[in-house]
């Protein structure tokens, strides 16, 4: 593997991240204050790290000011990704039903203008109103008002979807777990400033990078032993001699440009003291049509 690019003193591997098309939607959740937005966001995007084992990949895009929300209250933008529109609708309906509808003072609105291929959320949840729900059409949008014990839950009828990308990633190869984690935290902090992307894993960081398949038939994915420092003597390792820990940053975004920008910002933030190399996860280009070559993302030269 030839090294062509460096950021600070960190080598950038001549490889690419492989990502997949996914269907995405954005929920704007508002509540009485930011505290309840946060409670709701954490619940609604919980257990949504990877579609390998979850119904959706989800995360907080950003918190919204009162001026940015449809009802003038504090809000939060959540992004959800799934492999199909049907799967996305099922997952989001369940999550809104259990985690947004139930959360005090909340309301839920569509955050993607394009409604050509919508999924129905409020239109599914309205039945909770048991006949007392009310439909309201304002402009081109329909809202459902469902009576609840603290007043009412307002939810938009349909939500727009968009063809997004899931699985943009890069690997931080560090000389110690402490240095690797610190670099990962820096990358996460930088990426979280950007719109249209989420980091679906806990804290935005993955420590259990996976490969496709397993020696056990029932498993779709298993540990990527080539990047496990503890196995470096016994399996063909992808790790340089001085690497003692690897952390992966996984990015889902609404477009190729969004992923590229997030990877660039994240890599630049992660290239700090103690980080030996930045690499990326791929499957030889056979599984995902979106390839993000690290050298191209970083501009092709020493950054």
């Amino acid at each position: 593997m030839s090294i062509q690019v460096k950021v600070n003193s960190t080598k950038i591997a001549d490889t690419f991240a492989e990502a997949f098309p996914m269907t995405a939607c954005r929920l704007i959740v508002t509540a009485a204050n930011r505290n309840w937005c946060q409670h709701c966001a954490l619940a609604a995007t919980g257990y949504a790290a990877s579609v390998i084992g979850c119904d959706t990949e989800a995360g907080v895009e950003r918190f919204l000011s009162e001026e940015e929300t449809p009802d003038g209250r504090a809000g939060v933008a959540l992004l959800f990704f799934a492999f199909s529109r049907e799967g996305l609708q099922k997952a989001v309906v369940n999550r809104v039903a259990q985690c947004v509808l139930t959360c005090p003072t909340t309301a839920c609105y569509n955050g993607i203008e394009n409604k050509e291929k919508p999924i129905q959320i409020g239109g599914q949840l309205r039945y909770f109103g048991d006949g007392w729900q009310m439909s309201k059409v304002l402009g081109t949008a329909r809202y459902w008002r469902i009576p609840t014990m603290d007043g009412e839950f307002v939810c938009e009828d349909v939500f727009g979807t968009i063809k997004g990308i899931g699985g943009g990633n890069f690997l931080i190869l560090a000389q110690s777990p402490e240095a690797g984690l610190h670099a990962a935290e820096q990358a996460v902090q930088a990426i979280r400033q950007l719109p249209n992307v989420i980091l679906p894993f806990p804290g935005g960081v993955v420590r259990s990078g996976s490969k496709v398949g397993s020696r056990y038939k029932s498993l779709k994915a298993s540990t990527n032993e080539a990047y496990c420092p503890t196995l470096s003597g016994i399996v063909p390792s992808a790790l340089p001699e001085s690497v003692r820990a690897v952390y992966e940053i996984v990015i889902d975004g609404l477009s190729r440009e969004d992923i590229s920008r997030a990877m660039k910002v994240g890599i630049q933030a992660a290239c700090i003291s103690g980080v030996i190399e930045i690499s990326a996860g791929n499957y030889g280009g056979k599984l995902g049509p979106h390839h993000f070559r690290l050298s191209e993302i970083l501009g092709g030269g020493n950054a």
Binding site: D71, G72, Y143, D150, G151, F153, V154
Partner: protein, 272 residues
């Protein structure tokens, strides 16, 4: 933009339902001038009443003059923009499906009756049955938005099925009578029997009603999220609600109990 200027007042009401900018998009000025208008029991030409100038291709039509005897202007319009500078007659914008109508001057009865989409903005007073149903019809307005900056007559939104009517002034009696769904906002007092026969739908009478209907039941006061959403929507549409209106405590009445009682009447909380 095509401009019609009234040059001769009709003696009798004129059936002017053919006047709509989207229908004239592909016509020449002589063809437009030859469009028939029924005046009393005679058929006359459009250019008997109006001087015509401009280009109709962009679907923008401006009409100047006192047109209160012209009935049904803009009715059934599907797209484009119609602006009237001066009073307009009955049935203006009735059966509207799209586009926008802006009226600078008072208008007659049945403004936007049975409309299905689009927007009507009236800077003046309206007659009866704004967005309502015609006699014998099952539904009134089924979509779209009507903004009235003045007062309205009786039976606003009768049998209304969907959409929004926002009135800055006062309303007559039977506001939202037999309303099926939709939203009516009225900032000044409404007359008697508001919400009579209401099935679903919302009547927001920020100025109160002359009498609270007996067949409504008061529910507990709550801060409705929908009100915030609605006020933001109205602000975006240029229909600003004064802060005093939004800050006053509201009482919610459920009804009409003589119907299926799924509707709501929001009124200012009575002062003790």
């Amino acid at each position: 933009m095509l401009k019609l200027t009234l040059k001769r007042q009709p003696t009798y009401p004129v059936e002017a339902g053919t006047i709509a900018p989207d229908r004239w998009r592909n016509l020449s000025l002589p063809q437009i001038g030859g469009i028939a208008l029924v005046h009393g029991n005679r058929s006359l030409r459009l250019d008997d009443f109006f001087s015509i100038e401009g280009d109709p291709s962009d679907e923008i039509l401006e009409i100047q003059g006192d047109c209160r005897l012209f009935k049904g202007i803009g009715s059934g319009m599907q797209s484009g923009f119609l602006k009237m500078l001066g009073p307009s007659g009955w049935h203006t914008g009735a059966f509207l499906r799209g586009g926008k109508i802006e009226l600078h001057g008072d208008t007659g009865d049945h403004l936007g009756s049975e409309m299905r989409g689009g927007e009507i903005r009236l800077f003046g007073n309206a007659g009866h049955a704004v967005g309502g149903a015609y006699s014998g019809s099952r539904h009134g307005m089924r979509g779209g938005t009507i903004f009235v900056e003045g007062n309205c007559g009786h039976e606003v939104g009768s049998k209304m099925r969907r959409g929004l009517i926002a009135i800055r002034g006062a309303c007559g009696d039977y506001l939202g009578v037999n309303m099926i769904a939709g939203t009516i906002v009225c900032l000044k007092p409404a007359g008697i029997r508001a919400g009579a026969g209401l099935k679903r739908g919302s009547l927001l009478c920020f100025g109160g009603v002359r009498e609270i209907p007996l067949n409504y039941r008061r529910s507990h006061h709550v801060d409705l999220t929908f009100l915030r959403l609605l006020s933001r929507f109205l602000n975006r549409q240029g229909f600003h609600l004064p802060p005093s209106v939004l800050q006053q405590p509201l009482a919610r009445y459920c009804g009409d109990l003589l119907s299926i009682a799924r509707g709501e009447l929001l009124l200012p909380e009575p002062t003790p």
